[in-house]
């Protein structure tokens, strides 16, 4: 049964590869990247181990590995739905099969291969001390097991949480969590440069956490610290055992109670009753409802608070803080570049209606444009206040508006040109959609590049204004920026609509194929 699950994973993998060349290239690159990065770390472990004592580095490295595996899938990498327990619920699979199968399958992905190869380095670091090497051969695999189990357990436990109505709330929670994890981490890296002392200090406490305990075993053996060894061993063994229990329990609940969370009730027409009485209004109301009710939209805006915090942490009160406003504007505006993909096949409603496609474009633009403008405004005012650069208010507000307008325009064009596989409505909003990610990244990059090009004049003026403290240049930046933004928006909407006039059924066919 385990072998069948592995072969299922492999088939899904091959299936996605066959769908496009980009997929294949992306997968091969990812695999090579994983192998070479892991290999590099392995060699570093060996070489470092030959030269000096790496006990602290091993603990810290291992702890980071486990931490990333445990928390990472929730916030960054997305859940792999191949082993969604509820999909497999109808088959006669035991929980054990499911657990072993999906653990091993996870290890065979790029992340798993990187981990295994890199973990080799954690073992090789002890090559000069035979007794410790033996302990490493026990401890490191134990640590890797903990990492994999941690990842599977958290994703399984999180799955019911992120679905349905509560998903939205959880998205917010995760955003806050992410911010609170990322921010101190950056602060740490920023304020204290990494020295052997800090690593040793971190290792000292990390070795007593579930994340690092297993990796401390060889150091204990090498040092002859038998009491510490016993303590670490208890933690290192108890952690995976508890993870297995936790995972089992969440699996049991999901396998036996496959009901879907109800989304609750709405009232009357909702926003639909308050928008302009026209097709644009209908599109606008529908989009606004989705921004609130569909967790997939909320997660696409998670990066807004994250961006602000990261910028704030990195820049302090310096002038760099001022980029936060335009960054927020860009995030909001660009969010509709996947709007049609997010509609999925429900997009047929627009195709079947006797619509002018400019109506479709404007409805979507306004739905995020207005909240985006507010967010940009608030962020910009906050950064101006914190950096105490009120003289730059015209420049920054102007460039913020310009960025929002231009990215809305570009996104309106891009979303009409291409659609990528995204999570389907009702799917896990944090789920990783197999396929399309390479093309999506490419379009994101091109979009950013295009934005940079069209906004270059305004950006240059703004930077000059800030550096020289010239209010006049600031006004110039605002005027030039807004003019450019308006032009890009109009052009983007116009050509996006024209493209949909010509190719909307083809987009629908693509959407149906995902």
């Amino acid at each position: 049964m385990v072998a069948q699950l592995l072969s299922l994973r492999w088939q899904v993998y091959l299936g996605t590869l066959r769908r496009s060349v980009w997929q294949t290239i992306g997968a091969v690159v990812a695999m090579l990247y994983a192998l070479s990065l892991g290999g590099l770390l392995a060699v570093a472990g060996l070489v470092g181990g030959l030269r000096s004592d790496l006990s602290a580095e091993v603990v810290v490295g291992g702890a980071i590995l486990v931490l990333v595996w445990t928390v990472g899938p929730l916030v960054a990498f997305g859940l792999d739905d191949t082993f969604d327990p509820r999909r497999l619920a109808p088959f006669p699979l035991s929980r054990r099969d499911l657990m072993v199968g999906s653990s091993v399958a996870t290890l065979l992905g790029p992340g798993g291969i990187f981990t295994v190869v890199a973990a080799l380095g954690l073992v090789l670091a002890w090559v000069t001390e035979p007794a410790a090497l033996l302990a490493a051969l026990v401890g490191v695999p134990l640590g890797v097991t903990t990492a994999v189990l941690g990842g599977r357990a958290t994703t399984t436990a999180a799955r019911p949480l992120v679905e349905g109505r509560r998903g939205r709330d959880l998205a917010v929670v995760v955003a806050v969590l992410l911010v609170s994890v990322v921010a101190p981490a950056i602060l740490l890296v920023d304020s204290i440069s990494i020295t052997p002392e800090t690593v040793a200090g971190t290792a000292a406490w990390a070795s007593w956490t579930p994340f690092g305990a297993a990796f401390a075993l060889p150091a204990d053996v090498a040092a002859g610290a038998w009491a510490a060894l016993a303590g670490h061993l208890v933690i290192a063994l108890a952690t995976p055992a508890l993870l297995v229990l936790w995972w089992r329990r969440s699996l049991t609940t999901q396998l036996t109670r496959p009901a879907r969370a109800s989304a609750g009730h709405g009232k009357g027409l909702g926003v639909l009753g308050r928008v302009p009485d026209s097709p644009v209004g209908a599109v606008l109301a529908r989009c606004l409802t989705y921004w609130v009710r569909d967790p997939r939209y909320a997660t696409s805006l998670i990066s807004v608070p994250v961006l602000v915090v990261i910028v704030a942490v990195l820049a302090g009160d310096g002038p760099w803080l001022l980029v936060a406003g335009p960054l927020v504007a860009w995030t909001c505006g660009w969010a509709i570049s996947v709007d049609i993909a997010l509609d999925s096949t429900a997009f047929w409603t627009h195709v079947a209606a006797p619509m002018r496609w400019t109506d479709d474009r404007w409805g979507r633009v306004v739905a995020i444009g207005v909240p985006g403008a507010l967010l940009t405004l608030v962020t910009t005012l906050w950064t101006l206040g914190r950096a105490d650069r009120w003289d730059m208010a015209p420049a920054l507000l102007g460039v913020g508006a310009a960025t929002l307008l231009a990215s809305l325009g570009l996104a309106s064009l891009v979303s009409a040109l291409v659609v990528f596989p995204v999570n389907q409505p009702g799917d896990n909003p944090f789920g990783a959609k197999q396929g399309g990610s390479m093309g999506m990244m490419l379009s994101q990059m091109l979009g950013t590049l295009a934005l940079a090009v069209v906004l270059a004049p305004a950006a240059v003026l703004t930077v000059l204004a800030i550096v020289r403290g010239s209010v006049a240049l600031g006004w110039a930046a605002a005027v030039v920026g807004i003019a450019l933004g308006v032009v890009v928006l109009l052009v983007g909407v116009r050509f996006g609509a024209r493209r949909l006039d010509a190719r909307a059924p083809e987009l629908l066919t693509r959407l149906a194929s995902f």
């Binding site: 999925s344 389907q424 629908l508």
Partner: protein, 274 residues
């Protein structure tokens, strides 16, 4: 085989007379429709003329190309070749005019299901340029008629399959189209609701509307429709009034005869429980 088909089609009385003038008003005209997906030919060639005011059934086995044909007929899928006219307007040349005459219920696609039932129907109406108040009145009437009143404020995502079909039908009806194209409208719908839907559709046809439904339930088509076309392997095997097509036999027998390929249960003995 192609000769047999030609004779059936020419008997259906829907072709232009030799003189060239149309014998009847055509609500939906399909001419030489063709669609391939890569190597696979989904619709080889479909010519159909749906008379205005008819209740037209499109029947065919699984994979016959019914959904593909109806998608092309409603502007959702671009044909590789051929022409679609909706009451004389070329759909693919003038989609806005043609689509305003059309009400569509496609099969196997999503709805904007984070809206409530009421919101979804009003949204559909507004997309079709109905004033909001009209859209709302009609939506409420439709929800009542389709027995969805109690779930008007429930999100469509929480609807059952049958309820979803019904709400999609309401969306197709809300702008009072001249022509309704419904792909498998009765699938998963309970008998009571099916009866009310049939009544609504019959009433609609009685007052001059035209309905095209696809189905693989022959009984239903035989009872409900006045015209029928049999589609298999992407071709029209027979078309005409129900009586013409079934030629004295039951529609189901005639269908199996036309389509062929009935398999016996041989090789499935292991399925017998004793």
């Amino acid at each position: 085989m192609s000769e047999a088909r030609a004779s059936v089609v020419s008997d259906d009385g829907m072709r232009p007379s030799p003189g060239g003038e149309l014998q009847m008003d055509v609500a939906l005209g399909l001419e030489g429709l063709r669609k391939t997906f890569g190597e696979k030919v989904a619709v080889e060639r479909v010519d159909l003329a749906v008379p205005a005011g008819s209740f037209f059934g499109l029947v065919g086995p699984n994979g016959a190309g019914k959904t593909t044909t109806l998608s092309m007929a409603t502007g959702l899928l671009r044909p590789d070749a051929g022409r679609v006219t909706v009451r004389g307007t070329d759909l693919w040349a003038d989609p806005v005019t043609a689509k305003s005459l059309l009400g569509v219920l496609p099969d196997g696609v999503r709805l904007f299901d984070r809206l409530t039932g009421l919101q979804l129907v009003v949204h559909a109406g507004m997309l079709h340029r109905l004033p909001r108040t009209t859209a709302r009145e009609r939506a409420e009437a439709l929800l009542r008629a389709l027995d969805l009143e109690a779930d008007a404020n429930t999100f469509v995502a929480d609807y059952s399959a049958g309820m979803t079909k019904k709400i999609a039908l309401a969306c197709a009806l809300v702008h009072a189209p001249r022509l309704l194209v419904l792909d498998e409208p009765f699938e998963a719908v309970d008998p009571v609701s099916a009866a009310s839907i049939r009544a609504i559709l019959a009433d609609y046809v009685g007052t001059g509307g035209t309905v095209v439904v696809s189905s693989h339930v022959m009984d239903l088509v035989e009872r409900m429709c006045d015209h029928v076309a049999v589609l298999a392997a992407g071709r029209v095997l027979a078309a005409g009034t129900v009586d013409e097509v079934r030629g004295g036999a039951s529609l189901e027998d005639r269908f199996v005869e036309l389509v062929g390929g009935r398999r016996s249960g041989e090789g499935l003995e292991w399925l017998h429980s004793s």
